[in-house]
């Protein structure tokens, strides 16, 4: 449960997936289009991942491959992975993929993730340490959260090095010392 309080992990699990109910369920209002609180077996419903996951464990639903791992995305990633806008498809593409892979029958998701990351990593690497902030900000609108983290680590390391090289005050004054003395009445 190391990730229990990880906000990114929570947001990842909010991602919706489409599932097909294998059993009928009554007394649940999860299908907004249904007239009654009743879900028939075989109906297709969009659920957040965390709920789908639990229901899948109980074999109540079967999970479809989410849109962001569909054939179209795959082809685009194969063609030119560096310029695919993964962020608009799913901001937590890799984490979500890792969570989805065991649930769906499709075994190629893991491979897709690795190959996508491998080729996009190179792009991040070349831009992260050298590009200026303005040039970079355009680039990172297409990155997923994980790639942005990587990119920002590199940028901040480089920025703190540059700050050091330019120089400045060698010793920093502790904030408590900088405070002006209160005027005495």
């Amino acid at each position: 449960m190391a990730k229990y309080y990880d906000i990114d992990d929570i947001i990842t699990e909010e991602e919706t997936v489409s599932v097909i109910f294998q059993k009928a369920a009554s007394g649940v209002g999860i299908d907004p289009s249904a007239e009654m609180d009743f879900v028939e077996a075989g109906s297709k419903v969009e659920l957040p991942f965390w709920l789908a996951h639990e229901l899948h464990l109980r074999q109540a639903v079967s999970v479809n491959v989410p849109l962001c791992f569909n054939q179209k995305t795959r082809l685009e990633i194969q063609a030119d992975s560096a310029s695919v806008d993964l962020r608009s498809r799913c901001p937590f593409f890799y984490e979500f993929g890792c969570k989805m892979a065991p649930l769906v029958a499709d075994r190629t998701i893991g491979f897709l993730l690795l190959s996508a990351f491998k080729s996009r990593y190179k792009e991040v690497l070349t831009k992260a340490h050298t590009a200026s902030f303005e040039a970079g900000s355009k680039f990172w609108t297409i990155l997923t959260k994980e790639e942005i983290n990587l990119y920002e680590t590199a940028q901040s390391a480089m920025a703190s090095f540059k700050k050091w090289r330019i120089g400045g005050a060698r010793f920093q004054i502790a904030s408590i010392l900088r405070r002006k003395r209160k005027p005495t009445e």
């Binding site: 065991p102 190959s115 990587l150 680590t153 703190s160």
Partner: protein
């Protein structure tokens, strides 16, 4: 630690590295008379005017600030030597081993405090900048070789500051690769078909400096 985004991944800030670099020895020509200093790291001095002696960089800078000495720039900071190093760096993909481990920090400290003691200071400065850029570009090229099963990177003769800049990035990147290449996600048949050439596959440990 100070300055950087993720405390787990970055060990030192640039200022801390500068602090470590201040233990390197430099030669100074004092212009005061003083008995030897007995410090934990060793005895330095005696200081006699016009007689060259070796002291740690921090002491040299402190004396210099008070106008009590002039600092002799180290051998490698001469114009000829640096030009030679720059050429060597440009010629091969290997990192040259002619510069000291802390060259970035030492040169910056000397530029800041002892400009008047360095001959051709502008040229020296821009040469060091060029060398640093060339070397950093090489590091980036080396890092491109990362792939799923990379467990270690072998880059020889990397300097302290260069390691420090790329350390957080490498840490994260390796973690991400490790996560995505875990056997649960990638079934075996595809592992075999994915046989890209790997430069740094079996390196036993990360060796940063020989």
């Amino acid at each position: 630690m100070a300055g950087q985004s993720d405390s787990e991944l970055s060990l030192f800030s640039a200022e801390e590295l500068e602090f470590t670099a201040e233990d390197e020895l430099v030669e100074i020509v004092p212009n005061l008379k003083m008995p030897p200093l007995n410090l934990i790291s060793g005895d330095f001095g005696p200081f006699t005017p016009q007689i060259v002696t070796k002291v740690p960089l921090w002491l040299a800078v402190a004396l210099k600030k008070r106008g009590k000495c002039s600092i002799c720039p180290p051998q490698w900071m001469s114009l000829e030597k640096l030009t030679q190093v720059l050429e060597a760096e440009r010629d091969s993909q290997e990192m040259s081993e002619q510069l000291p481990f802390h060259y970035v920090e030492i040169s910056r400290l000397l530029f800041e405090h002892a400009r008047d003691n360095i001959p051709d200071v502008y040229m020296v400065r821009s040469l060091i900048e060029d060398i640093r850029d060339v070397r950093f570009h090489k590091v980036e090229t080396d890092l491109e070789a990362f792939s799923g099963r990379t467990i270690a990177v072998k880059i020889k003769n990397l300097s302290a500051m260069e390691v420090n800049i790329v350390r957080p990035f490498i840490g994260r990147a390796l973690q991400a690769f490790y996560k995505h290449d875990s056997p649960e996600l990638i079934p075996d048949p595809e592992r075999v078909s994915d046989s890209r050439p790997q430069v740094v596959n079996n390196a036993p440990r990360r060796q940063l400096r020989r």
